[in-house]
Symmetry: C2
Subunit: 147 residues, 2 copies
DNA sequence: CACGATTAGATCGTGAACGATTTAATAGGA
DNA sequence: TCCTATTAAATCGTTCACGATCTAATCGTG
């Protein structure tokens, strides 16, 4: 005689973490075909965005911007270097640091990349204003979680 | 003479996708020590939640619930089986399907797991009502993105 | 009933994430 | 000046995520 399992009070659909987790994957799936056009993966695209914003950054600066550590970034950046998008070189003034610079090819990719965000906004079904609001709310959430 | 780089109009901080991506990682980092107590990774925890909600599910049903495919789930579920949390067995009525069932140990873990969501809500700094609202907005976003 | 089409999982290879550790360079104090 | 502490990346091992493909079981139509 097995006792009936006590009902679980953990409801997946009410989990904020799961909403975020699954939305993150949904974004990834949406981006995949768009970024394939650029020869980038999603995290590589984020690195490119940080370098398009400001070139010539250290691994640590990029990591600070993207909330990633060198153990994630080093292999990713090496793949980007192999793809001809960035150069990696030790800073002569401080040989501990590795500076990332866009190649001409990497810089040129910005033109194509400008077409991506409008496609993505369209797929969200949100207005620009709604998207901004949600971005701010989730940004604040990330800040709270990182304490 | 290199021309000054044209300013990028792609602003990382305005990217909804990046807010979601980085919040997802922030959740993971928050969950890690909590779930270490239970001997679970975060995706394994999600599988447990689905089975606590309803036991005896196929790989496909779990995947439908979590938006994951068998190529992700099969190895994950095998690790959970090896950890003694679930059993995997072919459905006699349809040998293509593999049914997942909680072991006694897996069922018993629910008690400990109930302590997790309050900790997480606390870390978000949100009220229950705010968290619910955000969960709904992000859930709707995921639905829109998956079209 | 047969047999091609479909379905459910599993397998394989690649690229992230990340904890833990290591290596090399710089900084700073006795 | 040396020598210890700190810092920046890199390395290693494990677990996800996912595209592509494979295998085996079942379905459906003639």
């Amino acid at each position: 005689m097995t006792a009936p399992a006590p009902p679980s009070d953990l409801k997946l659909d009410e989990f904020l973490c799961f909403a975020v987790y699954s939305a993150s994957h949904a974004f990834n799936r949406l981006y995949k075909p768009l970024l394939d056009e650029l020869g980038l993966t999603y995290p590589q695209y984020l690195v490119m965005v940080t370098l398009w914003e400001r070139d010539d950054r250290t691994v640590g600066e990029i990591g600070e911007r993207l909330f990633l550590e060198s153990n994630t970034l080093t292999p990713l950046l090496k793949r980007m270097e192999a793809a001809g998008l960035v150069s990696r070189s030790r800073d002569p003034a401080d040989e501990r640091q590795v500076r990332l610079r866009l190649t001409d090819e990497g810089r040129a990719l910005l033109d194509k990349a400008r077409q991506v965000p409008p496609c993505v906004l369209d797929a969200t079904g949100l207005t620009g204003e709604e998207a901004r609001s949600l971005t701010d709310q989730i940004g604040a959430l990330r800040t709270a979680l990182s304490r």
